[in-house]
């Protein structure tokens, strides 16, 4: 299993994959034209032909039979081409000590504060691949890529996690807030958003802060709440040091988690090591390994042993990475956890 940059020839497989994901997966809609455009754009990004503002690094997870079984992406920067909106959950205090009044009212502030930060997005792992280290490879491989090429990214990495929704895809947060300003249902707005109209939609929203006590109880409960399907992805990123600092999605109230790049575990702990061949046994730890290339980037997970400045891996792993003994790799030990990122 490897993570590598997407190619135009992946398009049919990619389309089939995102069709599995369903309508909630708005950043990668199952729309051939949109997908084709995005793939071509990603190729230019990996070829360093675009500015950071436009860079969209789309990766695929490919098995040894060269089947595309997962997808994930990294945006060089959000908000530099069109405004990027979030709500920040702040606080309003209503206080009159003489009357014994002291009310704390969480308040949503519309903002563009995450402008210029880089985003982890568009992760989806095929249903029959949700085992072993696949989810971690697909998600954390991106962070090893960031560790290798920090100049391509902002100071912080962010990830917007899908918010709560009922079994019909209705979002209580949307129903209590956004719906009033759009007169359309969530899936339609979310669809438009996925088509790249996100900022147009955001511009329909009121600019002034909103008191959460005006929302329904269900909507209040949805603030900063990740959809159960994204719970594994959330746990993986939390273990990497990502935290929720109060930013939420303006449509469904899902949490935006963030971490300074230099504090991300995989970035911090990754090492430049020299590849050597051997046969690490079943007790050897799992490592996330990157071949340190941009356009021909290959990232995989394998059992490996570190010996001084060398990383000993087996021949098949080296082949997957398209590397020879003596080549340099960037590697980080895979955290000891059982989470399976399936969608985010």
């Amino acid at each position: 299993m490897i993570v590598r940059p997407v190619k135009v020839s992946d398009l049919p497989a990619l389309l089939a994959l995102v069709q599995q994901a369903g309508p909630g997966f708005t950043t990668l809609p199952a729309n051939e034209d949109r997908l084709s455009h995005r793939v071509r754009w990603a190729q230019r990004a990996f070829a360093e032909q675009v500015e950071r503002a436009d860079a969209d690094y789309l990766f695929v997870l490919e098995d040894d039979d060269m089947r595309v079984v997962g997808v994930s992406a990294l945006a060089g920067a959000v908000g530099l081409r069109e405004p990027w909106y979030n709500y920040r959950v702040g606080l309003t205090v209503s206080s009159a000590p003489d009357l014994g009044i002291q009310r704390q009212i969480p308040t949503l502030f519309l903002n563009n504060e995450l402008t210029g930060q880089s985003e982890l997005c568009s992760l989806f792992l095929g249903h029959d691949q949700r085992h072993g280290s696949n989810g971690r490879l697909l998600s954390l491989g991106r962070l090893l890529f960031v560790a290798e090429f920090p100049h391509l990214f902002g100071e912080k990495m962010i990830a917007e996690l899908r918010g709560s929704a009922d079994e019909h895809g209705c979002s209580p947060f949307w129903d209590s807030l956004g719906r009033h300003f759009f007169q359309m249902d969530f899936s339609h707005a979310d669809h438009l958003s996925g088509l790249g109209n996100k900022s147009f939609i955001a511009e329909l929203m009121p600019r002034q802060p909103l008191y959460t006590c005006m929302l329904t109880e269900q909507a209040q409960a949805a603030i900063g709440q990740a959809h159960p399907n994204t719970e594994p992805a959330l746990k993986i990123l939390q273990a990497e040091g990502f935290t929720h600092k109060g930013y939420i999605d303006i449509f469904d109230g899902g949490p935006v988690i963030e971490a300074p790049v230099r504090n991300i575990r995989t970035v911090r702990e990754s090492l430049e090591l020299t590849l050597s061949l051997g046969s690490p046994d079943e007790q050897a730890p799992l490592w996330l390994i990157h071949n340190r290339r941009l356009e021909n980037c290959r990232i995989t997970v394998a059992r490996a042993r570190r010996v001084g400045s060398s990383l000993v891996i087996d021949r098949l792993t080296a082949k997957r990475l398209q590397l020879q003994p003596g080549n340099s790799v960037r590697a980080a030990m895979l955290p000891n956890q059982q989470q399976q990122a399936v969608a985010a």
């Binding site: 209503s94 206080s95 009159a96 009357l99 009044i101 007169q183 009121p206 909103l210 929302l215």
Partner: protein, 338 residues
């Protein structure tokens, strides 16, 4: 005979009884003797002042039954809303959501705290004995204030407003308050209104949401309260509506009751009232019912009477009417038909 006159310090005990009976939401009439004493003193000073423009004056009137000297109602005119402290209301206006790209445009009503009604003259504190509700004496109590404004126009603003008490149920719960103010105060509606009467109203207003509240986000019961009148406030509303007052986009920030507005010069009792001079007669062949006042300031009096009024002729009044109005032959009179 019932006469409307400026309040006096000796009215305090009776006034307190009136305050006790007044409708929750008539916050300018607190059931608190110290506050009432201050109000009376403030009113006496206002009538005695030599104001040449509208300032902080508050003119407090009482309706007295001359037969037993009981007080049957009271009403006030605050010369300038927002003079001593900001006058808060909620403005109900559309926030327009528009996107050219998506070809969407629609308005969402939003309530915003504002001071837009500062500087207007405010009619307030209308309260009448339950036995006199929906009698012509309600008209006297409310509209005599307009005759007073007509007689002393420079003391008042170019526009007059009043807040009509909004809807609350029989237990005193206001669905609007429960959906909005309660979040910011954690007090029952009646208690908030009581505090408003005792403390400064603006003090409480400053605890209210400073950012717009979007109407569709309120529960339906609260939305239904916007501009809705408390049943006991309907008469006050009807009287002023007939005077040419209109509702506008402003509502009360606690109970969402409507605000009535009129240009001073367009108010019926001001624009159409007429003046005449008194001619005392033992008897009158009455032809119609009128509100009449003596046009005075400190000694202002107004009554309701059956008269035989002919334009450009002296106005015949009985000795009892003259006594009530404290006028004699040749005194000026301002009157308007009921």
């Amino acid at each position: 005979m019932l006469v409307l006159r400026p309040v006096e310090q000796t009215d305090l005990p009776q006034l307190q009884q009136l305050a006790r009976d007044s409708l929750v939401g008539v916050t300018s009439l607190p059931d608190d003797s110290e506050r009432l004493r201050e109000k009376i003193a403030g009113s006496c000073a206002s009538f005695a002042s030599a104001a040449e423009a509208n300032g902080p004056e508050n003119y407090f009137f009482v309706l007295e039954d001359l037969d037993d000297h009981s007080l049957r109602g009271c009403s006030e005119i605050l010369a300038t809303a927002g003079f001593d402290e900001p006058f808060y209301s909620l403005r109900n206006r559309h926030f327009t959501s528009a996107s050219r790209e998506l070809n969407i445009e629609h308005g969402v009503p939003a309530l915003s705290l504002c001071h837009d009604l500062n500087d207007h003259t405010l009619l307030r504190g209308f309260h009448i004995d339950a036995n006199l509700v929906r009698t012509p004496f309600s008209e006297l109590l409310s509209r005599a204030r307009l005759l007073f404004i007509a007689a002393h126009a420079p003391r008042f603003a170019e526009a007059v407003i009043t807040e009509i008490v909004g809807y609350s149920d029989e237990e005193g719960h206001s669905p609007f308050w429960d959906a909005l103010g309660k979040h910011f105060f954690d007090l029952p509606y009646a208690e908030a209104e009581r505090l408003c009467g005792l403390q400064s109203r603006s003090f409480l207003a400053e605890l209210m949401p400073q950012y717009p509240i979007y109407v569709p986000m309120l529960p339906q019961a609260a939305q239904d309260c916007i501009g809705r009148i408390h049943p006991d406030g309907q008469e006050a509303f009807d009287i002023l509506e007939r005077e040419g007052f209109e509702t506008n986009s402003y509502i009360d920030l606690f109970d969402a009751g409507p605000t009535l507005y009129a240009r001073t010069s367009n108010i019926r009792s001001i624009a159409r009232s007429q003046t005449a001079t008194v001619q005392q007669r033992p008897q009158i062949d009455a032809r119609g019912r009128y509100l009449l006042s003596n046009n005075a300031l400190l000694g202002f009096r107004a009554i309701m009477a059956e008269l035989d009024f002919q334009p450009d002729q002296p106005l015949s009044l009985t000795p009892a009417m003259c006594a009530a109005l404290n006028v004699t032959d040749g005194s000026p009179i301002r009157l308007i038909a009921l």
